[in-house]
Symmetry: C2
Subunit: 284 residues, 2 copies
């Protein structure tokens, strides 16, 4: 519990464990957080300070010495759930020099010619960095399954391939934080309608958004399958209720803070003679 | 003049034109700005709002329609001059989803096997993005010249190659903003000493920094040659006095704002039938 408005550990409450049912999650709830929007925004600003320092320490150990630690935040969600807001208001609060952001769109012909993990491997964060995937290899078992973009046995194969891939990534020093932002279909309708009502938001709307929306139950089933098959001990899923944007941002910030605190990066010691360098500098 | 503390256009005052002499620039001065540190920080926050909106508009036109516009900020400086602070406090104020950051280190063997512009070409910003180069192809005519990493005639060739390259990049829709952050050697000594005095800054110090520092006059001559040869009408250089960090940040923000205002990106019109989509969404 990092500050007083959290009554419980977000990492515990939001983690997808045995017997998890997505349909039991209330997208409008604020698990573990006793405060309101106002205290949430204050706590977010405080958390940004803490995240900023931890990120700088992580960056420092990645530059000096041979630490291999990094963090990878994977964001998945239905349209309008707020992935962009997480990137902007949570990740955007730390030094951009320590962040590697990858937004995965529909694969190109070249990407499609390779295994689905090929393009993902190339965007893994370097040591010392916080990587963020805005969509990810999970699209290949979400839209891939709902739209039958691959045969059923290939979708099956992918769950195991993902688990093996993530196990290797974790073993190489990366903390993986997998987040599904969970909104209700009613909230999505409001957010899409707002895009249609505001000319400065028209560019964010795509008629295909409504086509996907019509498949809501199929998408929820595909997410449930993802949780059943890929919420592992080394890379668990977290489902974050996201009808309240402020709560979702605060909760993802908590998950990132926990991952960084688990690494607990310390300022690296100088690998040169500090006193000798002071003299050399003074004489220069 | 975007706000009242600017008495003159930064784009005019800081631009490297005919007869420019780097040695005439006072690194501690605040050209065109009548305010102090306090007003500078307030103006920076205000400018961040404006920059954020322009950046989002730029991003929007890059997503929809066929605008090719982008902005490329090139940062060059002696060590400790504050490139990182510009990235963090100026660029870091806008949505990271619209920024592509490239930090160029000493070239790898693979990069060295290609022409010096090969690795740079690959990192040019996509349409709709603000690209930032933390160091750049100019290293190849700065440290490249000072340390004689390439024969003199190759250095000569590079100035022209850079001008041709940048002309092509500009013609393809990219505004190039080239900034040298100019600090005094005395200020650098203070900043390096601070790194040596604070254990949490030791990782930022490298004994090689003093070696480069010893070559200050040679570097200034190499910068002067860069300005003489590559400050072109399509991609002029700006020299920003940087002993006051707050001034340097404010000035670079002004230069970015001017580049974006020159593009003047407008929210794209919907390429779908807004009223029909409202009905379809309402029924979904």
């Amino acid at each position: 519990m990092r500050n007083r408005s959290w009554t419980d550990e977000a990492t515990e409450l939001l983690r997808v464990g045995e017997g998890f049912r997505l349909s039991d999650v209330d997208a409008g709830s604020h698990p573990g957080y006793g405060g309101d929007k106002e205290s949430g925004e204050k706590d977010l600003a405080e958390g940004t300070e803490a995240l900023g320092e931890l990120q700088e320490r992580l960056f420092a150990i990645g530059r000096v010495g041979d630490a291999r630690d990094s963090v990878l935040l994977i964001l998945q969600a239905m349209d309008t759930a707020g992935k962009g807001g997480i990137v902007r208001h949570v990740v955007g609060g730390v030094d951009p020099q320590g962040v590697e952001l990858a937004a995965f769109k529909a694969p190109t012909d070249e990407e499609r010619a390779h295994d689905f993990l090929w393009r993902v491997e190339k965007r893994l964060p370097q040591p010392g960095f916080i990587g963020v995937f805005d969509r990810s290899h999970y699209e290949d078992v979400l839209i891939g399954k709902v739209r039958a973009l691959a045969p059923a046995d290939e979708i099956e194969r992918r769950y195991d391939a993902i688990n093996e891939f993530e196990a290797r990534v974790v073993a190489s020093g990366t903390r993986i934080v997998k987040v599904m932002l969970h909104i209700s279909p009613e909230e999505q309708k409001d957010r899409l309608m707002e895009r249609l009502e505001r000319p400065d938001k028209h560019w964010k709307y795509n008629p295909g958004d409504v086509d996907e929306r019509m498949l809501w139950p199929q998408y929820m089933a595909a997410y449930q399958a993802v949780f059943d098959r890929t919420s592992t001990a080394h890379a668990p899923w977290y489902v974050v209720p996201a009808d309240s944007k402020w709560y979702a941002r605060l909760a993802v910030q908590e998950l990132l803070l926990a991952a960084l605190e688990d690494i607990d990066p310390q300022w690296p010691a100088a690998d040169y003679d500090v006193e000798a360098e002071k003299k050399r500098l003074a004489a220069s």
